[in-house]
Symmetry: C2
Subunit: 369 residues, 2 copies
């Protein structure tokens, strides 16, 4: 068995739960936030900085690594863990969402997705079998099924067809998967239609993957709608397997997801807004780039134990951002990743101590989006 | 006394020497390579990474910090050391070279240099007194006199006039300097004219600064000419004070400078070429960006003990550079700074063991520029 999940505690007021995932590269306590390392690097951070920020697992991306440097080169390097110097667990997504995002550059058929590289226009094909081949060659601990995501808004029939194809593709992925040391997760689709989400959750659950993901959310729909979809989806996903809400990772969405039984989150938000000069805090975003912080000699977030907050002021970080110094992106990325992981750690403790509902209320009382 | 220099050993074959500088923020073994942190950050590196690369002192720049974030803001932050989280020695240059480099945007008079900011065109004035005020407000351990650099090539009379003004400005800097915990270094000018270099060395030496710098070299002149100038300059600078060759830091120039009695070097080369995908090694430059390294799973430099060479391959670093990932700049900067400092450390050992001349010959036998 390449992956095991232990459910350590459930809550009475909400669906929040505390668990532990075991993988060949180590354990992951859940709920967990997974920093994204799209191109085999969490942007602007060394692996040591990612570890020091508390990360137990990182993501990497099949679409990007297939194009550059190529999955076979990564295998020659000894696999993704060794290539990127990250000895802990890794999850790769299948590239489904990325080729879907290419718009006019891709064409979807039952076989798979023909697409042109966003880099050089070269023509390629991703299919369930090809995605499995690439993900197996990369060698992550958790690999994702190749799915068809739909945009928001989309017509019911379009979403239903994509969902049904996603289910057929999930079966093909399951069949194509060969490595015993990797765990394949299925992905629920269904857009913003409750009945489709339910149908998809049942279909994916029935395929008995070691973990189940919820895809196609946080793609532009209003936030209450995302919560509505989670409300009808997670109860239909098996309790004894981890649930992963893909591409979601703002503080508020994490709390809302945990309350609805989600165990795993990932997001590029932390490092993306960092490069733009914005810090994430429990009270909301702080645009450090703003002139108001030019003479603010306090840390990014009072009480934060991250490397950045322990050693630098808002004024210094603002100076770095204003002068386009790389260290600015690094220091804010460190803070944003650390702050998110620390936040999730505190959620774990709240669940363990049977006070998650109160934690959630306190959080929203102070948080400004 | 804010600075003391101990000459620990001299050579018989060359002018190479081994020494130690004491400053209020710690000791510096010489010869020394000083990484450049123009805007109060060594580009793409944290202070811990700079320390781990072996740095004992870093540079910062008066012109840049005066414009952004402003020297008074740095003082409010508790001074430059605290602002940038660097507890070891710092040297600031005076801004003379930077305003000189502004070309049409600056006008030099006896009073000083009127210039327009390269950022917003705003008008400013730097003078010996103003440079001292800024450098004292920043609070580095070693501060540089405000000098007038000349371009290469330049007419004899132009160079002579700039040199004479540099001497008058050096006297004004000395008079304006007030802080006891900072050491002011004078700067020799004289372009590529041996008699002017000698005249300048004598004039600056006579002013009895605690250290003496050689400016206006490595500004485009052929390398043999730089060595010729050093040959006539360093013998006229006091033996019991450190000698600093400004803006020079390639491996070959360091060896040539040490052989001519230089103790201190600084250069932006290490971090600049890193961001462009080039590694510095003892055999010459390695353009990691090149396709030839795409499947090269060896370290940047065989035998190097830096963090990058211990943990990553050329193939991975090339992937990062090709995909414009910030970590690529960081990993190559770490290597380039570490490799240069390790090289200078080996020079120190060679001097101590009376084999610097052989070290120099071996180096040039293997080095390709």
């Amino acid at each position: 068995m390449s992956l095991s999940f232990t459910l350590k505690k459930t809550c009475k007021d909400t669906m929040a739960r505390r668990g532990r995932i075991e993988t060949p590269h180590g354990a992951i306590e859940t709920p967990v936030f997974m920093p994204v390392g799209t191109q085999a690097t969490v942007k602007a951070m060394t692996p040591e900085q990612v570890k020091a920020a508390g990360a137990e697992i990182v993501l990497a991306n099949t679409y990007h690594l297939y194009l550059r440097p190529g999955h076979e080169l990564v295998a020659e390097a000894g696999g993704l863990h060794r290539f990127m110097n990250w000895g802990k667990p890794i999850l790769t997504d299948s590239g489904g969402f990325q080729v879907f995002s290419l718009g006019a550059l891709r064409k979807i058929t039952e076989e798979g997705v023909k697409f042109q590289s966003h880099l050089d226009g070269s023509r390629h094909m991703l299919s369930p079998e090809k995605a499995m081949e690439i993900e197996q060659t990369l060698g992550a601990d958790i690999i994702m099924a190749f799915d068809e995501c739909t945009a928001y808004p989309a017509e019911y029939n379009t979403v239903a067809a994509a969902m049904e194809r996603t289910h057929r593709w999930a079966q093909r992925c399951k069949k194509a998967k060969a490595r015993d040391d990797q765990a394949l997760f299925g992905i629920v689709q269904g857009g913003t239609f409750a009945d489709l989400r339910q149908e998809s959750a049942k279909a994916i659950a029935a395929m008995d993957f070691p973990g189940n993901a919820i895809g196609g959310l946080s793609v532009g729909e209003p936030k209450p709608l995302m919560n509505d979809m989670l409300d009808v989806t997670t109860p239909l996903l098996p309790e004894n397997k981890p649930r992963y809400l893909m591409g979601v990772g703002s503080f508020d969405c994490i709390v809302d997801g945990v309350a609805r039984g989600v165990d795993m989150f990932d997001c590029v938000l932390q490092t993306r807004v960092a490069r733009n000069g914005t810090a994430l805090t429990r009270r909301g975003r702080v645009v450090i780039r703003n002139a108001t912080y030019s003479r603010d000699f306090s840390p990014i977030e009072e009480g934060c134990t991250c490397y950045t907050c322990q050693n630098y002021t808002r004024a210094y970080v603002r100076h770095l951002i204003k002068t386009s110094e790389i260290l600015g992106a690094t220091l804010l990325s460190i803070h944003n990743v650390h702050a998110t992981i620390q936040f999730v750690n505190d959620i774990r403790t709240a669940i363990e101590e049977d006070r998650f509902a109160a934690f959630k209320d306190d959080f929203f009382a102070n948080y400004h989006n």
